[in-house]
């Protein structure tokens, strides 16, 4: 095995140009796929942060006493998909309404009595923030005897959920397509490299080398190339990311969203894929080229 490893290193040096091309191609492919993944991860973050704004207002019946409130709160809190429940007294609600109608609050100033009900604002777990789940939850809350009505931004949520779903679907589809394209490109490049070393392979077979002896250095080379290509690709992505991030810092000093790099787990995954693809390209090509030959 050590011999094979040495032979692989030797080989990489002997075929400098071919190896450079392979590594560059792998790097670029990794860059493409990981850039896309990075984009979708961040876009997903932003969208998810919007989801946090989704809430259900549970308006209570007017005859509910203050003592019953903790129990109701607990009950709602216990429902599936609920993240947080906040009590909004009718005074608080009126304050908010006034704020909303700022400039025309004269309208409300005429009122002697506050006609608004007490309410609970129910915030949702982001995982449950799609139209169906929200609808279910709202129905469930409305069914509680102490709740008069449960409301949420039905139209807006429907629209947003559609966009979000489409976005996610497209994201998966694109990452999938790009990944496959990258695998093909890398495999193709390695095939070309091995094609141009066909004679060498044939000569090795003719002097009595076993398939294993021929293949092993190629495999090790493939793994090394995959690893180097992966590192270069991810490094390039990181540089590009830092450049964009600096720019974004200026654009969004508001700090509402925080763009972030790929997580260590994903990075490891990409590295593993890159290494695997380096090996796979060799595997397929060798299989093909060795099959062409007799004996």
């Amino acid at each position: 095995m050590i011999l094979f490893y040495k032979k692989a290193i030797q080989d990489i040096r002997d075929n400098g140009f071919l190896n450079a091309v392979t590594i560059i191609t792998i790097s670029l492919s990794v860059l493409i796929v990981s850039a896309l993944a990075l984009f979708f991860v961040n876009a997903n973050d932003i969208m998810s942060s919007w989801k946090k704004g989704i809430s259900i207002m549970a308006y209570l019946k007017t005859d509910i006493g203050e003592t019953a409130l903790p129990e109701i709160k607990n009950k709602i809190q216990g429902m599936y998909g609920v993240a947080e429940v906040e009590f909004i007294s009718k005074e608080e609600a009126m304050k908010r309404l006034k704020e909303q109608m700022k400039g025309h609050s004269s309208l409300l100033a005429d009122l002697q009595e506050n006609p608004l009900p007490d309410a609970f604002e129910v915030r949702l777990l982001t995982s449950s923030a799609d139209s169906k789940k929200v609808e279910n939850l709202a129905v469930q809350i409305e069914a509680m005897p102490s709740v008069e009505k449960a409301e949420y931004g039905r139209r807006w949520l429907g629209r947003f959920t559609n966009v979000f779903d489409l976005f996610k679907f497209t994201g998966y589809a694109m990452v999938g397509i790009f990944f496959m394209a990258a695998v093909f490109i890398v495999a193709n490049t390695i095939r070309l490299v091995i094609y141009s070393r066909q004679d060498e392979i044939e000569i090795m077979r003719l002097v009595g080398a076993t398939d294993r002896f021929i293949k092993t250095p190629f495999y090790i080379e493939g793994l090394i190339q995959g690893a180097i290509g992966g590192i270069i690709g991810l490094a390039a992505l990181f540089v590009a990311f830092m450049l964009i991030a600096l720019n974004v810092e200026q654009v969004s000093s508001s700090g509402i969203f925080q763009i972030r790099f790929l997580s260590p787990g994903v990075l490891c995954g990409i590295m593993l894929c890159s290494i695997f693809v380096g090996w796979l390209g060799c595997y397929i090509s060798l299989k093909q080229f060795l099959k062409y030959k007799t004996g």
């Binding site: 060498e200 000569i203 002097v207 009595g208 076993t210 004996g295």
Partner: protein
């Protein structure tokens, strides 16, 4: 159908035909080669000499007929076993077939590495055969930077380094002046003396004359007596 029990024959060919598309390269070839024989195959350009050698080392399958090498029937050999068949042979190819990205040393060492030999042994043996063919000073050169004759000598070195049972030499002195050619002929003879089997395909009359052993004549793919 045939069994290789003839203890004296290392190679047996029975009604061998080889066809490339419509082109008949070999027609009904029959001969045996004894252990420790020095055999010439001769004939004009395109007669089928190289094709005959190619069939022996299983570079191509036969179209018809049977070949036994050291008791193994080539038509029944599995893909996994071919490398071991090929290690019985040391082959000097007509076009040398050196690997252009490897040095002279590495080209020759390849045979021993494929056999799984130890590094020190490889070092020693390769240097020794390169000295025999007069190429030890060029061991770090690449094949393209060698003259035709130098490449041929490296090809010879590679063929003998693994101490095969049979040497197949296709025009082994074609690019060599008579002096260098003598070195190669002596090398082949020495190998033969030490018990090896040698098959040389050539049209070098001088070579035939110098050695004077059994000759198989081919013409347009047929064996002529």
């Amino acid at each position: 159908m045939i069994d290789g029990n003839d203890k004296n024959s290392i190679i047996r060919m029975f009604h061998v035909h080889k066809q490339y598309g419509a082109k008949k390269a070999l027609i009904d070839i029959n001969f045996d080669v004894s252990k420790n024989e020095f055999l010439f195959i001769t004939g004009p350009s395109g007669a089928g000499k190289s094709t005959l050698l190619k069939l022996l080392y299983f570079g191509e399958p036969v179209s018809e007929g049977q070949i036994l090498i050291d008791g193994m029937n080539l038509s029944r050999i599995s893909r996994n076993r071919t490398p071991f068949l090929r290690r019985k042979f040391g082959i000097i190819f007509q076009d040398y077939k050196l690997i252009p990205t490897k040095t002279v040393f590495d080209n020759v060492a390849l045979v021993l590495e494929a056999m799984g030999k130890k590094r020190q042994l490889i070092q020693k043996k390769v240097n020794s055969v390169l000295r025999m063919v007069g190429m030890e000073e060029r061991s770090k050169s690449f094949p393209q930077s060698l003259s035709g004759g130098e490449q041929q000598r490296v090809a010879v070195a590679r063929a003998v380094v693994g101490v095969p049972r049979i040497i197949l030499a296709d025009e082994p002195t074609g690019s060599l002046d008579s002096e260098s050619a003598n070195v190669i002929v002596d090398l082949l003879k020495g190998f033969h003396t030490r018990g090896g089997t040698v098959i040389v395909a050539t049209h070098d009359k001088e070579l035939l004359r110098k050695t004077g052993s059994r000759i198989i004549h081919l013409k347009e793919g047929r064996q002529i007596k």
